[in-house]
Amino acid sequence: MNELISFANEATKLLHWIIDFVLNFAVNLGVPNLINAGVFYGIGGVVILMALGVILFRNIVHSALCLTGSFIALGCLYIFLSAEFLGAVEIMVYGGAVAIIIVMGIMLIKRDDMSHSNPGRGVVAHIAAGIVSAFFFVSMAAAVIMSPFGELGEYKLADSVTGLADLMLTKYIVPFEVAAVLLLMAMVGAIIIAKGREADEA
């Protein structure tokens, strides 16, 4: 019995020590920083898992679903990076319009079995592609880690909608108009390409 009590005492002490240690750690790091990190890693994890799903699923409808999830998580990431308007645009344009275009394309093209509709290449091609993309990632990561980003100052930016509207209609008015013309051209071109030749002759 005594042994049990002393063991419980020791365990309580150890538990207290661990809680103290963790709390000290958290206070030293800063609780807002910890929350920020949790949100960032959560959203980033969802983005990367969904992107892996896009390239690993054999069924292309599942890939399209994962792509949509990845876009929506990216919209959340933009909101986390205090680009609220861009997050809304990402969710509407990518999570809505682009996802629907891709799913419509799949439905118009595939008519047979869907379970093997996303074929991959052979093992050699997978290894080569893995080497290429791993090389790309390692070089980018080395560049990011070795760059001295520490001394970049942080501006406190105002509301992103107001700032974007001011820029879009004053300094960047020409790119804005060019983007509008590009969208119009893409719409007309997509209709003409997909409609086919029969319509021309009629």
């Binding site: 992107a51 990431l77 308007f85 275009i101 891709i102 509709s117 996303n118 993309s133 501006y155 930016l157």
Partner: protein, 114 residues
């Protein structure tokens, strides 16, 4: 102990490098898919992933770099416009190809090969 604390601070204080690394991971995944998928629609999806990775860079530099205005987010919006136009045209081309050749496998689309 000091080193551990410093390492945790590097991991926990979210800044520009974290966003750039996330973007690099996403771009590499898109590149891998682009090189290994054989369906033209899957290739288009991987191109979309890569374009999104680029947009993360623009937004992250706007947030953490020393930018006095929202020009980075504006460039990301122009990138989204171009990507939307690209996916519309690309899907129209894929549907047209399927009608003419009855295949969307990029390995079989080799008429220009000598």
């Amino acid at each position: 102990m000091i080193d551990l604390q410093k390492a945790f601070e590097l991991v926990v204080n979210i800044g520009l490098p974290h966003c750039l690394l996330l973007s690099a991971v996403l771009f590499s995944i898109g590149l891998f898919g682009l090189l290994t998928r054989r369906s033209i629609i899957a290739v288009l999806m991987c191109v979309e992933l890569m374009l999104n990775a680029v947009n993360i860079n623009l937004v992250a530099f706007n947030r953490f770099g020393s930018m006095p205005d929202h020009a980075g987010q504006l460039m990301a919006i122009f990138g989204i416009v171009v990507a939307a136009a690209e996916v519309a045209i690309g899907m129209a081309l894929a549907i047209k190809l399927y009608r003419e050749r009855n295949t969307i496998n990029v390995d079989e689309l080799d008429e220009l090969k000598g």
